[in-house]
Every structure is written in C-alpha cells, then in structure tokens.
Amino acid sequence: MSMSRLSGVDDLNEMYESIILDHYRNPRNLKKLASPDLEKDVNNPFCGDELSIQLNIENDVVTDLSVSGNGCAISQSSGSLLAESVINLTKIQILELIVNVRKMMRGEDISEEIRDSLGDIEALEGVKKFPVRIKCALLGWTGLEDLIQD
C-alpha cells in the first residue's frame, strides 16, 4: 500500500484497514453450502454491491454459513468478516451482534466489553467517516438480519 500523493490518507487508511483489504482479497467462507436451510441474495443497486448469503441452522444455532458476491472492498470485506464471525452463534446472539455493528457504524458509544466482542469486525469502524459507504458495510448484516428473522 503506497502513501504516494494521496490526501486524506489517514481517513482512507482507517477505512481500508489492512484487515479489510485482506478480507477483500481473500474472502472467507465463500464456498456455497450443499443444502442450505436459508438463503438470500441482497444487493445495493445504486453502487452495484451484491452478496449471496446461505446458512444452515440447528436448534437456533447457525452451524454453517457461506457469503459470496461482487462489489466494492467495503461490502465484500464486511461480508467476509460476517461469514467468519457468526458460525456457532445463536440467532439471538447474532441479532445482538448486528445491533452492535450498527451502533459502531453510526459512531455511537459502545462499551469496551462490546468492542472486545466484535473482534476483527472492529476494523469496519473506519467506514463511519464515509457516510455513503455505511450502506456497503451494512449490506450483508442487514441481509442476515432479514434472513434469520423471517
């Protein structure tokens, strides 16, 4: 990553954190599930981000999950972070996690405890300085929320 003549590099670097770029270049849990219990395609047509979410669920616990798609670094890395974070969580835990991700993106105060629970997802925080990009970051999370609430 070159610093070159770009201005606003600090903000950019906060958004395009190395964890983000790593997930963008090497998305996790891409592989489609053999027989998903639930699946949903979500997209943000105005910027062209697309994600397909599939999951298996047993006794309200997500046992396996795949996220794949096309789009900008933020939507895709966020989808990959999601894919890495929710396996083995219960529906309720996931919904709580989504609430916290939203809070972080909106720049609301969150406790140290919650911050710890976010793990790598915290890398998405830099997006909050780029309001139009928040939609990209939330695309997968909103889709997942719809999927497990239906």
Binding site: S2, S7, P45, C72, A73
Partner: protein
C-alpha cells in the same frame, strides 16, 4: 473563435470551492451541471422583486412574472429552432418522455406495432417504453449500440409496423453520438408515419441542435444539465402531434372552460401545463440559454470533444482500465465510463473524492447496458465547457494513486 476557459470558470461560484481540502474538480456533468452566477442571481431577483403567479393576474407583479416566464420559453424555442407554442415546460427530461408515452404512446400504438430503442437508453427512455409495450401489447425492439450506432442494425429491425423510434442523441454511459439525421432519413423512407423521439438530455446542453433541420417529432431535455436550475425540463413536439394529443395532467391553466359536466382544453402549449408552473425555474432556464449562446454551442462542443480525446488517449496508457464503448472512431461527446480490472468503481470514487475530484459511479441509470459488460457498476467522468486539461491531468494522477494504493 476560441473560448477563454479560465474566464468562463470565474462565472461559476462553486468552482472556487474546496472539497476535502482540495480544489473541487467537478467531472460529474452528465449527472448535473454547475450554474453560472447570472443564472443563480436571476432566481434571487425573481423572488425578491417580482415573484407572483403567472397567466391569470391583472396586477404588475403578475404581468412582470408572466412576461419573464414566457420570454424564457421563447429563448428555449430559439435555441432548438422550434415554434414557441411547441415548447412544453415539464419537470425534467424524464417527465417529457413520460408525457409522450402516456399522451401519445398509449393512444396511438397498437399490439401489431413495434417500438425501437437502443440497448443504451437511460431508464427514463427504456422503462417508459417497456411499460407502453406491456400495456399496448406492442413489441419493444433494441438496437445494440455497444460498438457504436450502425445503420444496418436499425435496418434489420425497422419495418412498416414501427410506430416509434425513441433514441438517445448522446449516450450518458458510452458517450456515442447517434446520427439522428441519417436515422430520420432511413425511417422516413420506410414509413412516413413512424415517429421519432430524441432523448437530448446529453446533447442540447453541449452542441447546436435544430429540431427543424433534424425533422424529428419529439425532443426531451432537462434544464439542470445545461446550467439551468433543477425541477424544470422541456418537451418539444411537432404541432400537429401536440394538437391531437390528450392532456397529461388536469387542473389550472390547461383548461379554457370548465363546467360541472366537462371541460375544454386550452391552446398549446398550455394544454400540457397544469397548475402553477416552476416560474423561477423557467425564467432562470432562459438566462442559462442566453449564457450558453453567448459562449456559443459550437465552441462548447469543440472544447468538450478536445477534452474527451485527450482523456481517451490517456486512458489508453492504463492497461488495467477498460473504457465502456471503446470504438474510438465513433463520434462521441464528453462522457467516458470505465471499469478497472480489480478495483471496484465505488472504491475509486471514494478515493478520488478525497482528492476533491467528483466522478460518478454506479449503473448510471442504464442498468442492463452496464450489466452487459459483466459488471453492475462503472465509473464515469463527464465534461462541460468549464473543465480544463489540467483537471483531466489531476484526474489521471489520482487514478494512478488509486492503483498504487490498492494494488
């Protein structure tokens, strides 16, 4: 005559603004243009000096407002060489197209007929006719202009049952200019009754255009893309067509007589203008027309073609970028869309914005066309007379930095 771009730039207050600490480089003109001070001032002047409803007032303010508003219509008519009463004020190009579809299309197209458009139409000239096709049962046919407009492609699908050819004059994605004159000749040879609508949203602001010379039936464009205000557009229609069309909306100003049993319509163009119009919008559009004509449409066109050729030449040096519509021999206007091999347009747009450079990213309201390139989004730069070669350079420097940053 050559134009001094630096002195033109001084007329645009917004161009002095900085964005994210950098001087604004505005390359999103196909979405909307910036406005010269005299246009903005004419709005202020209207509201501070003679704001009033038009057409029905006997008092001084109303007379002044009516005169200024109708005078603006006259200027627009002159700009495209049309009779004044064939100029209908609408909200935007989109409404102009919808007006033709509803008032003319629905009532004049039958199931055995067909409509021809291109695969590069803006949604306003695509979805609109898709709906007419669904409602009337007529067939919607597409000419593929991805590699430029080829007359043979039109010949292949044009027939005696073609009710309408509705075509963009300049594609807002590919930048190609379609050869309207030749298209009209071909169509009229096949069937004198086939109507021709030109979506001039991207052409009227940038080049000389004469509806009479072209021999077309309808023309649609928006003021906001030609240095005018938002909220006002224009539909030109041939008089004999307009006379026979039903009104689009009902209400004040479009009637000549109303009883509890029925109503009679007003004369042209008022028949199509229901309710209190965008008076400030009309007046300031007239000022925008004056401003454009003062620079000269030929001069505007020439400068933008020069910028475009310069930019295309530079793009050819970037191996990871692909220009959509890469038939470089085709006549084209100041619009260039592009994609990168691996960096998403949205990320490019964000990083350029940090450098003060405004470009557009997304589907550009031509979703199926952009999809046909295997992507759901593209980036786009688009020029106006106030853009400079230096701005193009700044853009390419930033583009290089984007690659450095991401790759």
């Amino acid at each position: 005559m050559s134009v001094n771009i630096d002195s033109v730039r001084k007329d645009f207050p917004i161009l002095g603004r900085s964005v994210n600490g950098k001087k604004l480089v505005y390359l999103d003109n196909a979405a909307t243009s910036q406005k010269p001070k005299i246009v903005i001032d004419s709005i202020t002047e209207y509201y501070t000096k003679y704001n009033s409803n038009v057409h029905r007032g006997v008092h001084t303010l109303s007379m002044e407002a009516t005169e200024a508003y109708e005078n603006a219509r006259f200027k627009v008519a002159k700009l495209i060489n049309a009779p004044e009463d064939c100029i209908i004020w609408t909200r935007n190009a989109t409404e102009s197209l919808n007006l033709v579809a509803s008032s003319w299309g629905l009532n004049n197209i039958s199931a055995e007929q067909n409509i021809i458009i291109t695969n590069a139409e803006h949604h306003s000239n695509l979805v609109t006719w898709q709906q007419i096709s669904k409602k009337t049962g007529c067939e919607l046919r597409y000419i593929d202009i991805s590699n430029g407009f080829e007359m043979s492609n039109l010949k292949n699908i044009l027939d005696k049952n073609t009710a309408l050819v509705s075509i963009t004059h300049i594609s807002n994605v590919l930048g190609y200019v379609t050869p309207i004159s030749d298209i009209v000749s071909l169509i009229k040879k096949m069937n004198l009754d086939t109507k021709i609508l030109v979506d001039a949203a991207q052409s009227v602001p940038h080049m000389p255009l004469d509806v009479n010379d072209l021999g077309i039936d309808f023309l649609a464009f928006s003021a906001h893309k030609m240095m005018g205000p938002t909220g006002i557009g224009v539909l030109y229609g041939k008089k004999e067509l307009l006379l026979n069309m039903e009104p689009y909306m009902f209400g004040g100003d479009m009637i000549i007589e109303v009883s509890y049993e029925g109503a009679k319509w007003n004369e042209l163009p008022y028949k199509f203008e229901a309710g209190t119009p965008n008076i400030a919008g009309g007046i300031s559009t007239g000022v925008a027309v004056d401003y454009l004509l003062n620079i000269g449409m030929e001069n505007i066109w020439k400068h933008e073609v020069d910028l475009t050729n310069y930019a295309l030449e530079k793009f050819s040096q970037f191996k990871n970028f692909t220009v959509l519509g890469n038939n470089l021999n085709h006549p084209r206007g100041g619009v260039i869309s592009f994609v990168h091999k691996s960096i998403h347009p949205h990320d490019i747009g964000t990083i350029l914005d940090k450098q003060g450079i405004a470009i557009r990213t997304g589907h550009h309201c031509a979703m199926p066309l952009v999809r046909s390139y295997g992507t759901s989004a593209a980036a786009r730069v688009s020029f106006y007379i106030y853009n400079t070669f230096n701005e193009v350079d700044l853009f390419f420097e930033a583009i290089k930095d984007v690659e450095d940053y991401f790759l």
